[in-house]
């Protein structure tokens, strides 16, 4: 039964492909969800043509109830590519899914002329619905990929290690410290200690909005790891509110030198490394 429908549907698709395609294109071009600013007619035409031919291929296999079947792979791939690229380009989910759903009208028109039974139409409608939902899924995956990538970039961006002076490194932390970031920060710092042979690292937490027990623990871990490598740490940039929070929480920061500002920490670091900065002439400003 199913095999028979599929063949007749294949026949119709074969005969009317050009017609369906031009109908479909015309429909999409005038639709409210058309984003002429994001995609050109030529690209859209190519996508429609590719999808229609892979759709015909899938229909020819006779598996009209299962779009996960191997025969549907080309169609799935085209839909997946299209959804991902549209997600990146800034299409909304509705605009993306409409690509598949809008095929219904021209397709049904073509099928109707050849007089297909209601049951057959229902099967084809369900098939297109499935493909449309698959579009949504792929769209979401594309978006998640973008988010993941941005997270990674943010992680790398936000943990620079700067050399302040001979043997003195500074690590300005900005944003909340979670376990994952601490790991990156720690690795970056230790690698820089090896690279520069620094004896002192200043961890500046001016940009850290809140310090709770967990953040304090992460900081102390970083300090301990640096100490194992033979470098000493100074924590600077502690705001009055944060000092109060630390005391209220009962966090012990006794094992590490703390300073209110980066400048103080730098002065201490110079002192410990036996260096000094001197003014050689009166300041002109």
């Amino acid at each position: 039964m199913e095999q028979k429908q599929a063949t007749s549907l294949t026949d119709i698709l074969n005969q009317h492909e050009a017609e369906i395609l031009s109908d479909w294109m015309a429909l999409q071009r005038t639709a409210a969800t058309r984003r002429a600013d994001l995609i050109s007619d030529t690209d859209l035409h190519r996508q429609c043509k590719d999808f229609l031919s892979s759709f015909r291929q899938g229909v020819a296999s006779g598996k009209l109830d299962d779009i996960m079947a191997p025969a549907w792979e080309p169609a799935r791939e085209i839909v997946a590519d299209l959804s991902r690229s549209r997600a990146r380009m800034g299409f909304t989910p509705t605009e993306t899914a409409t690509f598949v759903f809008s095929l219904k009208q021209p397709l049904f028109r073509a099928l109707n002329t050849d007089g297909l039974a209601e049951g057959d139409l229902w099967i084809i409608s369900t098939l297109l619905d499935k493909l449309g939902l698959f579009t949504g899924e792929m769209y979401q995956k594309g978006r998640e990929e973008v988010i993941r990538q941005q997270q990674q970039e943010l992680l790398e961006l936000s943990t620079p290690v700067v050399k302040l002076w001979d043997g003195i490194l500074a690590l300005p932390l900005i944003g909340t410290l979670d376990s994952e970031r601490t790991q990156v920060v720690m690795e970056n710092l230790l690698q820089s200690i090896v690279g520069t042979g620094a004896a002192i690292a200043i961890i500046d937490i001016t940009g850290v909005p809140t310090v709770d027990t967990l953040v304090a623990q992460h900081l102390l871990k970083t300090v301990a790891a640096a100490r194992l490598m033979g470098a000493e740490c100074i924590i600077s940039g502690i705001r009055p509110q944060i000092a109060a929070t630390i005391v209220h929480l009962g966090v012990e920061l006794n094992t590490v030198a703390t300073k209110a500002t980066l400048a103080d920490a730098f002065a201490l670091a110079l002192k410990r490394t036996g260096q000094t900065i001197q003014r050689v002439r009166p300041s002109s400003v």
Partner: protein, 134 residues
Amino acid sequence: MERIPILKMGEFLLVTIQVDMHDRLAMALQEDLTDRIVSAHARGVLIDISSLDVVDSFIGRMLGHIAAMSRILDAETVVVGMRPAVAITLVELGLALPGIRTALNVEKGMDLLRRAQEQDFWEPGDSRHVPAQD
């Protein structure tokens, strides 16, 4: 049985660990080192672990023991050249080795020992393993 060589440099002893430390070897090193400190009248011990990829909790503890024993025998211990990955692992294991002095490389470790010798004086309640505050 293989042993880790202990080199004498002036009044310091230099131990460079270049093979994978297994537990028997670590115990042997501990014994050899304490013997050598006494026989050579050493005032400082430098342990270079820059070629060690893995330091487990046993080796970590052993380093702590060596430092404590040497201190009783009046020799300062400095562990040098710990790799970043090793340092992170030890901290994650909860082994921050508070009793051990550390330095980035052998040269800086030597410096540290020499400085410790220069300012070596006894005073009541002095615990030399605590890093000097400014």
